[in-house]
Symmetry: C2
Subunit: 310 residues, 2 copies
Amino acid sequence: MTRRKPRHFADDLISRMRELGHPLCIGLDPHLGKIPPVFARGDMAPASEETAKAVEDFLLAVLDRAAGKVAVVKPQIAFFEQLGHRGIETLTRVVDRARSLDLLVLLDAKRGDIGSTADGYARAYLEPGSPIEVDAITLNPYLGLDSLEPFAARAEAHARGLFVLVKTSNPGSGDLQNLELADAPVYGAVAAALQPMAQRLEGKETGWSSLGVVVGATYPGEAQTVRERLPNAVFLVPGYGAQGGSAADAVKGFKPGPGGLEGGVVNSSRGILFPEAGDTAQAPAWEQAIDAALDQAIDELGEAVSKGRA
Amino acid sequence: MTRRKPRHFADDLISRMRELGHPLCIGLDPHLGKIPPVFARGDMAPASEETAKAVEDFLLAVLDRAAGKVAVVKPQIAFFEQLGHRGIETLTRVVDRARSLDLLVLLDAKRGDIGSTADGYARAYLEPGSPIEVDAITLNPYLGLDSLEPFAARAEAHARGLFVLVKTSNPGSGDLQNLELADAPVYGAVAAALQPMAQRLEGKETGWSSLGVVVGATYPGEAQTVRERLPNAVFLVPGYGAQGGSAADAVKGFKPGPGGLEGGVVNSSRGILFPEAGDTAQAPAWEQAIDAALDQAIDELGEAVSKGRA
């Protein structure tokens, strides 16, 4: 387990992004059917040991390309759970490697449960020395504020970050999130309810909070509404690239900072991991393809944030 | 992997409960600090191999006591995730043993995600031949109906069951679930939105649907509201026993059936797994304690449902 000095999560994240000049986060979503030929092994059946090894080789190679270029990576745990316990072993090694490369790790797990079960999840991922120790995690608010408390307690004690779903990027996100209450949609009420927790987890250095929220790039108007209610919550923005959100849409909830627009991380998964390149059966071709995809996303997002220097 | 003939999930579950005369489901929540002395090993640290083995021994012994007495068991995945990949290996063996003892397995995972990620979770737990193959799973509706679709597709194709969170048992559940829309609270709107999916997954034999919902025993009034909107959804009722809901409260959303009130499963975790008994350092004392707790819950719930014979 790599040890890191416990710096406030949002202060750390925002400082790193200021230095790099862009808010790109690489989503580690290893779709089995898309693993490049240079890494694939056997028939890629979910239960096989070979498949877990292929996923691991692929992601460790991606991390080597990403190190120094981005502040944070976001493994999507569903793709590891698919592979059973071997997938979780792979995830453990991917997380360890990322942290040893000095990348922040945001686990996309969207967990949400109550009482001792919520405590179990918080212990699983945010406790120092736990088998899979990450810097931040995504959470689902449907069960209410008490369900978030065990995570907030770890965020305070161990300098972790939380990203609570507020307005997600999918077409059906409005089914519940946009239901209209007397004075606001549900997602707006959720954002408002999170503000005390955001204040509690505020960083002394940058003013940004370790209580972040998920706001899809596909709904830039909603991002403004959420920003009004949560002025210092860091946004995790999915939906950029493959899901159709532009770089300009992705930074809609950002605010002017010392080096440009800031206050969010923009995730790209498929766009980086599986670029539409020619033949990636050879390692050099694959490396070129992924470097190009990475650089293009960094340029695009860097340009989008540079327009808002404070 | 044990193979079972693919009978419609709700038809199977309801038939089993009619035969047994009670709706008790045993929740498999292995709290590390509570594992009886007869099973505990070493210091019970989450990352140790010994801990995973202790949890496995304990739960396999519980399953042996439960076989033939209940229709369904509900492992809570958070307690296994705490133990890292070894915990998931333990869960795999617990699930396999339960199914080989002819117990239905309902995985309490409360997953919710979008697109290919939701598909990854559905593939992980509801696909035949997946590393951890269960009969049913709990889901979170915050991300909307499209996020449930990959699970509904598996429920249809492979006779699985789904239990969507509607009104949870915790004190903070009202923060979001009871927000008032123009004509209903949020949980009521969620229940109403699920009705088409409930109709689609209706069983030919009993009329009950494999689209179930979670409705806490601690909110019996809300259970009635949900039942009006979802007449044939099977209720998964947490909060009975340790969380303070009575047997009578737990069956509030049930309906008269051929053998008594039916249409739900009532979960008890701590009340069964960790009964307040004397010295459980010896296997016979532990077996007596757990049998007594199991029989008491069965009697209590059996009596509660027997009052409503149709």
